[in-house]
């Protein structure tokens, strides 16, 4: 410090204080308030990091721990360095975006390379366990036991035993891991429902104790010569045997009763028999590009893809244009300060936006009902709104207009307020007509301010599932094609394909989404280049 002070005195050039290369003041923060806030925030970050790291440590999750450490280090670097000023503003949102939007999207895209879906959700082991578990049948001719769960000795640590009573034969047994043993009737006490209530050497468990030992109980069974006795709840036990068992030597499932064999088909994740019949439970396997080729070769998709794409764009663009037009119009009209009741108008106009969108879609759908709907009754017509493509498209856009124009109205009002009135005033001083002033000054400025919003709104509506699905459900459907309707957009078609078949097919749906994503990305990039010009008008 002293050196620079000396320098200051000696040299006539204005003092240039060199900012520290790294630290709290690195980026020019100098006010005490600013510094304190920075310290507090960084301290909080550190605190959260430690709190997050402890369970990770406790559970040996090294990858998670590494991520926490890296992120914390990154945050410290960003906020203490002078060169990362943009990042200081962007990093919080970006972190959340990555964690909760990008990561799920990437994961979902990765499932496009698998057959993830119903019957193919888990691993092969899980499928085998499920197959064996659901094939357990009660051995015919065996009694239905009344069960008392008990332990030999201490309830929390003793070995589990089953105290069984055969109500028909009026006999009682004790079942251990060795097998069944008869119990003499005089030794034990039976309750009213036949349950063994007391037996020497054994402690009968109550519900609390039993559920504390639940895991041990679920793994416990009494072996018999034809199978095993397992409990069903707290008070019943059955002798059963799994009919189907996995044989590792042939990688197949064998049925003990019928002798049928199902061999593992690892390319499809199913157990299949010689005739091609598969067992219900399957597992998730990697299928490479199969989903993508299926999408490309799907006949319905090929025939209707162009149609759906065009309507998808038309719908999204149309929605943006009409909502913006009406919203702007009403905003301008109501922008006059002399207008009394402006506040009331504004509050009531945005009221639809406060209603849950899903309920409103349903109300509108009801209003379009051919025979009983409000619209037809008001207009005195009998239009089948969703019976023809043109009227269905009109209906959908009308609903979108209703739902969206008040959002645009709100934003345009804010915009009109923000844009300096001085500019318009100045123009009029020079004698320009008001409308001309609006057109050449206000509107371009508005557009600069709102163009990004319009683009974002387009993106949002491109995948506006509810707008189509809840209103028309894609109707009308050409009689020969129940899968792709005339008002279907790509996402509703994807949904139907994913969930309409014999079970959800997430992998296939993810593949379609990837395609849609690529198309939209290309188009967005191209249009983004154009708006780049708009940005610099200012």
């Amino acid at each position: 410090m002293a050196k620079s002070e000396v320098r200051e005195e000696l040299t006539p050039t204005p003092p240039v204080k060199k900012p520290p290369r790294f630290g709290l003041e690195a980026d020019g923060t100098s006010s005490p308030a600013g510094l304190i806030i920075k310290i507090a925030v960084l301290a909080m970050v550190l605190g959260i990091a430690v709190w997050a790291a402890l369970p990770l440590l406790a559970n040996d999750r090294w990858v998670g721990l590494a991520i926490v450490v890296l992120v914390t280090a990154l945050l410290f670097y960003i906020y203490l360095s002078p060169r990362t000023v943009p990042a200081k503003y962007l990093i919080p949102g970006t972190l959340f975006l990555i964690a909760f939007q990008i990561v799920p999207v990437l994961y979902t895209m990765s499932t496009a390379f698998t057959n993830f879906g119903d019957a193919h959700r888990g691993s092969k082991q899980e499928a085998i366990a499920a197959i064996e578990g659901t094939s357990v049948q009660q051995v015919p001719g065996t009694p239905e036991y009344v069960l008392s769960l008990a332990t030999k000795g201490d309830p929390t640590t003793g070995d589990i035993v089953f105290l069984l009573t055969d109500p028909a034969a009026k006999q009682s047994f004790v079942g251990t891991s060795q097998g069944l043993e008869e119990l003499a009737a005089d030794d034990i006490q039976l309750g009213p429902d036949g349950k063994v209530v007391e037996a020497p050497g054994y402690t009968v468990l109550n519900i609390g104790q039993a559920s504390a030992r639940a895991e041990d109980i679920s793994q416990f069974s009494v072996p018999t010569d034809r199978g095993a006795i397992k409990n069903q709840g707290l008070s019943r036990a059955f002798e059963g045997t799994p009919l189907q068992a996995y044989d590792a030597s042939c990688d197949c499932i064998k049925d003990a009763k019928s002798g049928q064999t199902w061999t593992a088909d690892d390319s499809n994740g199913l157990f299949v028999d010689s005739e091609g019949q598969a067992l219900a439970q399957g597992w998730k396997v990697n299928v490479g590009l199969r989903n993508f080729t299926d999408v490309l070769s799907d006949q319905t998709l090929r025939a209707s893809f162009l149609k759906m794409l065009i309507w998808n764009f038309g719908f999204a663009i149309g929605t943006v244009v009409i909502t913006f037009a009406l919203g702007l119009l009403v905003a301008i009209v109501l922008n006059k300060e002399e207008l009394k009741g402006r506040r009331i108008y504004r509050s009531l106009i945005i009221l639809p936006y406060a209603m849950p969108v899903v309920a409103m879609y349903l109300v509108w759908r009801d209003m379009f009902n051919t025979d009983f709907g409000l619209l037809n009754r008001m207009l005195g017509t009998h239009i089948n709104w969703f019976g023809s493509t043109a009227s269905a498209m009109f209906a959908i856009l009308l609903v979108q207009l209703w739902l969206g124009y008040n959002y645009m109205f709100l934003v345009c009002t804010g915009a009109l307020q923000s844009i300096s009135a001085d500019l318009t005033e100045a123009a009029q001083v020079d004698g320009a007509k008001p409308f001309y002033a609006f057109r050449t000054i206000t509107f371009p400025l508005l557009l600069v301010a709102l163009a990004p919003l319009l683009i974002a709104s387009f993106a949002f509506n491109f995948n506006n599932f509810n707008a189509i699905y809840l209103v028309s459900q894609g109707a009308p459907f050409p009689p020969d094609n129940p899968m792709a309707g005339n008002t279907d957009i790509l996402i509703t078609y994807t949904y139907r394909l994913a969930f309409g078949g014999a079970g959800a097919q997430y992998g296939l749906a993810a593949a379609i989404s990837v395609f849609i994503f690529l198309i939209v990305a290309v188009i967005s990039i191209l249009s983004f280049r154009r708006t780049h010009a708009l940005e610099e008008i200012n």
Binding site: I36, M44, A119, G122, R236, A280, A502
Partner: protein, 420 residues
Amino acid sequence: MKRKLPIVRVAVLLAVVALVVSACGGGGTGGTGGGNAETSGAQLTIWVGGGPSGEATKKLGAAWGEENGVNVAVQIIPENLQTQFVTASQAGKAPDVVMGAHDWIGNLVQNGAIDPIQMTEDTRAAYEKLAIEAVTFNGQTYGVPFTMNNIVLFRNTDLAPQAPSSIEDLVATGKQLKAAGKTSEILALPVGPIGDAYHINPLYTSGGGYMFGQQPEGGYDPKDLGVGKPSSVQAYEKIGALGEKGEGALKRSITTDNILSLFTAKKTAYMISGPWQFADLKKTKLHYDVSPVPPFEGGKPARPFITVDAAYVASKGQNKLLAQEFVTNYWSTPEVNLALFKASPNVPALTAALEQIKASDPLVVKVAEAGRASGEIMPSIPAMAAVWDPLGKAEAAVIAGANPNSSVSAAGKAIQASLK
């Protein structure tokens, strides 16, 4: 500003404070965060759908929990309960018990989400035969049923005192009433713009169609699809004759949203719907009666779908012991059945419960009788899920006047394609 803050000291102080606080907090949560099972007290989580039935389940669950010292948490899942259950099961967050329709069973089993249940002979015998059949899949029983619903014909007795013996009879009476200006619609059968294969099934079966053939050992055969076969086309020809270009009895503008208001406003004398309408109908002063959905004259019997709600034990639940106990021993009692019935008027599945309500709710018993007589269990095989959408759309097209042959064949083809 020239006064220098003791920056370094403040920073270090705050950092130390933050570390200490987080360490204490972290230690606390680390302890309880590792394991999430309650070690103190038994726990049972039940998932159920919304509506009055869900509320009743809450009360019943609480009662059982109190009696047995178990902490029962009944959670109401408003939408997509089946999908959410399967997703949760895979992620290791499954509940212990889930209540749902029987046609979920095929899908739940193929995802390894539910366990079979062993019922004693006595318990089994206490239920309606069809109810037990509905919860059986691949030879195993998977759920404990508690309701057994099917649709019937509701009839405004002021306008139409006699129950119609056939569809033609119904249409004739309906037309008379319409001509006399007493009603504006012949029949309120929900169709909608994309159709409704569930409500049209009695007419479909009466006209000769079927969904899936039966396997020799019982259960439906996914390889034998009835949609697209000539019998299904014939059935839809008859249905088409009743449609908008025909008698005008079936219309796409009539949906589940408006049948009740049409019926209660006396705009129609006939409504085809299920026992869930009883609660609202009680609030009006309407005079009505129920009877089985009539068949076509000279046709096969009209078979409405039977849907059963059941309680299932989740395979991946944390408290299977209590779940099994709850489902097999508590949910199968008449008291529970009756309590659920009081909350939501679905037909009880226990024969004893049905007997008990004979005096107070004769109409409900009539619904049960109609089901027993000619109901067919809705297929629970996973393949059935592929049928609803295309078949419904074919129905809507035919009712609008399209050619039955091309519509139904197209539906059949689409279903076959998605089953591959």
